[in-house]
């Protein structure tokens, strides 16, 4: 374990870290929200409306989208989902938790040849497919992985 890294992070207050990040131009939440927030897609209550909202009504299945997520979530409040797109020219990666009240959980715009890799933590209330939609050169591709959310207990 990297104790130094851990100590450094613990040492700085959370507010201080965030302030530094914003000052450095790493985080610009207000601007992102104001200029690029796809309200229709994120407010959508169904998977099909969310897909329409991101302009991907009928994406093609792809084996070049790799989704790493737990088979059974350890904590439905923070389900780690790691997406790697091996599709050349990946421009956006959208993540949809199909059974969430608002299924579209995240959408990332990648530019200037950024690597097609994102890692998020989703809140999931129940077992559901996690669907990923990739936009590359105006074409949409998709893959899915099921994540179980259980009540727990009763193990061996």
């Amino acid at each position: 374990m990297n104790e130094l890294r851990r100590a450094l992070l613990k040492g700085g207050t959370a507010a201080g870290t965030v302030a530094v990040a914003i000052a450095a131009g790493l985080m610009r939440p207000s601007q992102v929200l104001a200029a690029e927030w796809n309200k229709a897609a994120f407010d959508a209550k169904s998977v099909s409306d969310a897909l329409k909202g991101i302009g991907a009504a009928s994406p093609a299945d792809s084996k070049d989208i790799l989704i790493k997520a737990p088979d059974i979530a350890e904590n439905g409040a923070v389900v780690p989902v790691e997406v790697t797109s091996r599709i050349a020219g990946t421009q956006t990666i959208a993540i949809i938790a199909e059974k969430n009240p608002q299924p579209l959980a995240a959408s990332f715009d990648l530019s200037n040849g950024a690597e097609g890799y994102v890692h998020v933590r989703l809140k999931m209330g129940q077992s559901s497919n996690v669907k990923v939609v990739v936009n590359a050169g105006g074409k949409h591709y998709t893959a899915a992985k099921e994540v179980k959310v259980t009540i727990g207990g009763c193990g061996g």
Partner: protein, 571 residues
């Protein structure tokens, strides 16, 4: 009556001399072998493995299941064979000591004949004997070692830590150990075990950065052969057990990380790669098809006493998958022949530890006496006497669980009772006293709270469906390795081959269908949610037992099963 070692051996010898005609297939006629534990030497290294002893320091009775259903690709394959089907598959003779050890058949009579099993003093003698017969040995503990008894709970597993050090365990992995809290485990690993027992878990990482928490593997040279032991902790610890016990750690199967580690140890020169696993056998069988480069998976968790390994073929060759039972009942011996840097042959024996056949090791017996001394009065409190056989293990219910359910229904004034489908817990023969110690064998956990809740019919069904899917999902990676929640009061039908939401039907209380919207009073114990409280379950059951004094044979509340006819996992 149980036999002494001398009497036991005399019976074996007499049976041999007589040639013993086996007219009754359950006749207790052992096939005698001169020296039950004298193994012929094979190969150049010997791995000794025990798992899931659940802190049973003294000899116990343990009845193997009569119901251990396999679904999907597991139907009719080890470990989902019970009784006669198991004997037939492994060519074990009816009426032999092995038949008694590996099956529930004729349990009471055979248990009285062959006596108790396990016990660390007896195990220590056997380990010493098997080490003496071989120049390159390693003793591995698959976990679930620090939990399952009164003394382990009351010493936070310290009794087992000391016993394992004395036994000479060289590496271990874990599951229930984590229910003493992650910080506690880390402290024991960094102090008591340091330099003595390697605590291995490739699949435990911090939730923030994914940093490894424990050493993933250890490289040892045995008789000149470099051997890698990789540890795999129970992947679903934070789900099957309280999350708050290990709040900062992530588990999971992580077979991609495992593949990287196998490649790493091979690159470092390991000629034999072994996974010391607490996945459960079904998970291990699937894992062996996906991860290459492992010679053997020495498995536990599902408590399956499987006499011989399953050979799994994969893209890189083949992998042996074993499961070594529970409660200290067995010691596995895997002898390996390594030639020109590669595994060339193996022999496997899962030896039943018949306490009457092994003299107790004096040093270990002394240690056990010392750790028990402060607690003897509490342990020996006689709560009641049982008229029937009391056991736990089985997919749907056991007589001891029924007793717990009956106690909860009465003491809590509930309409329905739930008891978790744990697989640990010892067996009592008819006529034996139910002491506090025997009750703790079934209940000794760090979150023993008994609860009484009002649940709707829909919620009750959701719970049964959820647990049913942990047991009967055809994908082993979604199986958590426990048994079905035991149910008191409520009757239902279960269709294991169905999918979640469709397995449970016909739920009734007192013959009337359960109303999805009505609320019912439901008693339970072992809640995994943080902040739960309630009287410890052992107090609830102890009160019921003290009142009763004599416990009549229990009538098992079992679900009606659909689609299980001819399943070799059911007797």
């Amino acid at each position: 009556m149980s036999l002494t070692r001398r009497e036991f051996l005399q019976i074996l010898a007499a049976a041999a001399a007589a040639g013993l005609p086996l007219t009754d297939k359950h006749a207790l006629a052992a096939k005698p072998e001169a020296g039950f534990y004298d193994l012929t030497r094979f190969g150049n290294l010997r791995l000794l493995h025990f798992t899931d002893c659940h802190a049973q320091l003294l000899p116990v009775y343990f009845r193997e299941p009569s119901v251990n259903i396999g679904v999907g690709g597991a139907v009719g394959r080890p470990p989902h064979l019970v009784g006669e089907a198991l004997l037939k598959a492994f060519r074990i003779r009816s009426g032999s000591p092995e038949a008694h050890a590996f099956t529930y058949l004729n349990f009471e009579k055979a248990a009285r004949t062959y006596g108790k099993v396990g016990g660390f003093a007896h195990l220590a003698t056997l380990v010493k004997q098997l080490r003496a017969g071989h120049p390159g040995t390693l003793l591995l503990d698959g976990g679930d070692t620090w939990q399952g008894s009164a003394t382990s709970l009351w010493t936070k597993g310290q009794d087992m830590v000391e016993a394992c050090k004395l036994l000479g365990v060289e590496a271990m992995t874990a599951h229930w150990e984590f229910t003493y809290g992650g910080e506690w485990v880390k402290q024991v690993v960094d102090t008591d075990l340091k330099g003595k027992v390697d605590f291995l878990a490739q699949n435990v990482k911090t939730t923030d950065f994914g940093d490894p928490v424990f050493a993933p593997y250890v490289l040892r040279e045995l008789n000149g052969v470099p051997v890698a032991i990789i540890g795999q902790a129970f992947p679903y610890t934070p789900i099957a057990n309280p999350r708050y016990m290990v709040p900062d750690w992530s588990f999971g199967i992580q077979d991609d990380n495992l593949q990287k580690i196998v490649n790493e140890v091979r690159a470092k020169g390991a000629q034999v790669v072994v996974l010391l696993s607490h996945n459960g056998m079904d998970v291990d069988l699937k894992l062996a098809t996906r991860v290459t480069g492992i010679d053997a998976i020495l498995g536990g968790h599902t408590h399956d006493g499987v006499p011989q390994p399953t050979l799994v073929k994969n893209a890189g060759g083949q992998t042996l998958v074993t499961n070594a039972g529970s409660n200290g009942k067995f010691l596995a011996v895997l002898d390996l022949e390594v030639r020109a840097g590669k595994l060339a042959g193996y022999r496997y024996r899962l030896l039943p530890v018949f306490s009457n056949l092994l003299a107790p090791d004096p040093a270990m017996a002394d240690l056990i006496r010392k750790v028990r001394a402060p607690f003897e009065d509490r342990l020996n409190e006689k709560l009641a006497v049982t008229e029937g056989l009391l056991y736990r293990r089985g997919n749907f219910n056991g007589t001891f669980d029924q007793l717990i359910l009956d106690a909860m229904l009465e003491v809590k004034g509930a309409q329905i009772a739930f008891s978790p489908g744990f697989r640990w817990g010892t067996t009592l023969l008819p006529g034996e006293a139910i002491t506090m110690e025997r009750l703790m064998d079934q209940t000794a956990i760090t979150y023993p709270y008994s609860t009484l809740n009002e649940l709707t019919g829909t919620q009750i069904k959701d719970i049964l469906e959820d647990v049913g899917d942990n047991l009967f999902n055809p994908d082993p990676y979604l199986q958590q390795g426990g048994d079905m929640v035991r149910v008191g009061g409520l009757t239902y039908t279960c269709s294991p081959f169905e999918t979640i939401g469709r397995r449970i039907s016909n739920m009734r209380l007192d013959g009337k269908p359960i109303d999805p919207d009505r609320k019912y009073k439901v008693a339970g114990w072992a809640p995994v949610a943080e902040g739960a409280s309630g009287e410890p379950i052992w107090e609830v059951v102890a009160r019921y037992l003290r009142d009763r004094k004599v416990i009549t044979p229990r009538k098992l509340n079992l679900p009606r099963l659909n689609g299980m006819r001819d399943n070799p996992g059911m007797a």
